[in-house]
């Protein structure tokens, strides 16, 4: 079931939570709403669910599920599944009763028989690998197990659309990884349309077919993870999707200077701020003709396949971060306090304060 939002906006009192938003989600898509807290992503999800109503003044937007206009349909009748941030399991009911709830409260003419409910609930519990926990109470389960119960409960009523609010926010990193993959598989198997909210860019990029990046109640960009990372629409998206190093200085005759740092850039004269990704920095022992960026190593942290190197210099307001391969780390014999030079492989720049952003990534 596709989801289409047209001109949906929301105010809480006088504060604007959402600017008029348009969004098309295709049938069977898994879409992540990504943004910092206060960006309006949860509000948007709750409006899709019908738990929150969109503004009707000055004009009313529209929400369509497929061809069905659900703008004024009560949340009860929208046929959605909703997974809450802290699961919101019914604490006084067993796992079985939790999952069966949606089936048991159906109007009599649609309600399955007791035997059918039993079969269906156990099939769902099997799917989330919790069939041995049917008689446990929510408080006796781990966070990851509770999350799976809440998923099974949402799927029990065969929703057209599955909505998840920070589904993995409260779990530890390892469980989160597993559940993410499991949800992705489940989604591909059952092929429902799902929308989930997250503030974790890695989660959004890994899980989504397309990511909707939001800030301040606005949609900044809607794209596939790949495009989003390679072609961010604006500076906000670029900075939100990963660590960023800043280089600010004056450009004159194609050379940007900042203290005793120099970098050849192909830009007109004026004040410029360049953005550099940590993995796009190369550490070298002698400056090149194009780049003279002296730095001092202040910390080295091996993280997985890479080493994170923190760099400082007089000409830098904030320390830089570079991620390099272990091989390079060993070759350079990096230690704290060592003086080196940076050579950016690539830098990015966004025209400032301009409403129409012009991404101009360029090679140095």
């Amino acid at each position: 079931m596709s989801i289409r939002l047209q001109q949906i906006s929301k105010h809480f009192g006088n504060t604007r939570a959402l600017e008029p938003v348009n969004l098309d989600i295709h049938e069977g898509e898994l879409v992540g709403l990504l943004g910092p807290s206060g960006s309006g992503k949860t509000t948007l999800l709750r409006i899709i669910a019908g738990l929150e109503s969109a503004d009707t003044h000055p004009r009313s937007g529209k929400i369509l599920f497929g061809d069905r206009d659900v703008t004024h349909v009560h949340v009860r009748d929208r046929r959605i599944g909703f997974v809450f941030q802290h699961y919101a399991l019914f604490r006084h009911m067993s796992v079985y009763e939790n999952v069966a709830f949606g089936l048991k409260v159906m109007p009599r003419n649609r309600r399955p028989s007791t035997g059918e409910i039993r079969t269906r609930v156990f099939r769902l519990l099997e799917m989330v690998k919790l069939e041995d926990f049917a008689n446990r109470f929510p408080a006796q389960l781990s966070g990851g197990q509770q999350q799976r119960v809440s998923l099974a409960r949402a799927l029990a009523v065969k929703p057209d659309v599955l909505l998840l609010d920070e589904p993995f926010g409260a779990l530890d990193a390892k469980v989160r990884q597993d559940l993410r993959r499991w949800l992705r598989r489940l989604h591909d198997e059952l092929n429902f349309t799902s929308v989930f909210v997250t503030h974790d860019q890695e989660e959004a990029l890994e899980l989504s077919d397309r990511v909707v990046v939001m800030s301040n109640g606005k949609i900044e960009q809607i794209d596939t993870p790949e495009t989003l990372y390679r072609h961010p629409a604006n500076r906000f998206v670029f900075e939100f999707l990963g660590d960023v190093n800043h280089l600010e200085g004056k450009v004159q005759n194609g050379i940007l200077t900042c203290g005793d740092a120099r970098l050849d850039v192909d830009l007109p004269d004026g004040h410029e701020e360049l953005l550099l990704r940590p993995h796009e920095l190369r550490l070298i022992e002698t400056p090149t003709a194009h780049a003279h960026l002296p730095v001092t190593v202040t910390a080295t942290v091996p993280v997985g396949a890479e080493v994170r190197v923190e760099l400082e210099a007089d000409w830098l307001a904030n320390p830089w971060l570079a991620t390099i391969r272990h091989a390079d780390f060993e070759r350079l014999g990096l230690t704290r306090g060592q003086r080196l030079y940076v050579e950016p492989r690539r830098w990015h720049r966004f025209a400032q304060q301009s409403p129409s952003f012009s991404p101009s990534p360029s090679t140095a």
Partner: protein, 275 residues
């Protein structure tokens, strides 16, 4: 390691003082009530209790409690629901208003009702036209008792419902449950212990209320006399054994209430330990 203030002498002194005070001010009077009530034997006690007027007072007291509790229950749940599940202008003021019956002296409450609904009162004249008498009759007693006891249930529920939040209810509605089903199957089970506790407190207060009731009841023996009022009358008539027999009954109700409350708290703590 010893905690601050954990010197043995200090500890013994404080515990001793607490025990002495408790015995002197709580236990002794309670023992005295029962001792006085049975001072002239069980038979005299029984005669006093089974006296026509005493029985009528017991009947009226229970009748008032039975009418008061459901009203307070519905009112308390509705109010707690309103205050914790909706945000609207004046919500905080409403939460403060709930406490008025606690803040106002019961005698003042009785007088206000008399002023409003008495025969010469603001609304009383109009009621009199329709031959409706509220004051100096059981409806008046019920009205002031409700006024005095109405905050108990709401006060118990509001903090609990605030802490629990509305996510479970939202989850139920998303799954297709109607408003009533959600209340019956999600809200109610989550608040049942607090609710019961509130009812117990309401009952204790409704049975024992003296000040407000004495103003509006008229204390007509055998008609509008509740147990606390009857007790006072017996005492004024120098019928000490009769007065203490009634006192013993009230004390018994109080003890049962406390036992029920302790039982519930024990259950609740066990439940929490289990969870």
């Amino acid at each position: 390691m010893r905690r601050i203030g954990d010197a043995p002498t200090v500890r013994r002194l404080l515990i001793g003082a607490a025990l002495c005070l408790a015995a002197l001010f709580l236990l002794l009077p309670l023992v005295a009530i029962f001792a006085q009530a049975f001072a002239q034997g069980v038979e005299v006690f029984w005669d006093n209790v089974s006296n026509e007027y005493t029985l009528s007072a017991i009947g009226l007291t229970l009748f008032v409690a039975v009418l008061t509790i459901p009203v307070c229950l519905v009112f308390g749940v509705a109010l707690a629901w309103l205050v914790t599940r909706f945000s609207f202008p004046g919500r905080r003021i409403l939460q403060t208003l709930i406490d008025i019956p606690f803040a106002v002296s019961p005698v003042v409450a009785g007088l206000i009702y008399l002023l409003l609904y008495g025969r010469t009162g603001w609304l009383g004249a109009w009621l009199d036209n329709y031959d409706i008498q509220l004051m100096f009759a059981w409806p008046g007693i019920v009205m002031v008792t409700i006024f005095v006891t109405c905050p108990f249930v709401a006060r118990e529920l509001i903090p609990l419902m605030q802490a629990q939040g509305s996510k479970e209810e939202e989850a139920a509605v998303v799954l297709g449950a109607s408003g009533w089903t959600t209340f019956r199957r999600i809200t109610l089970p989550n608040i049942r212990w607090a609710l019961l506790y509130g009812v117990i407190l309401t009952n204790a207060r409704a049975v024992g209320e003296f000040g407000a009731v004495s103003v509006v009841s008229g204390a007509i023996r055998g008609q509008t006399n509740t147990l606390p009022l009857h007790l006072e009358q017996l005492y004024q008539d120098y019928n000490a054994v009769g007065a203490f027999a009634c006192a013993a009954l009230l004390a018994l109700i109080a003890l049962l209430t406390l036992a029920a409350k302790a039982g519930l708290e024990w259950r609740a703590s066990r439940r929490e330990a289990f969870l």
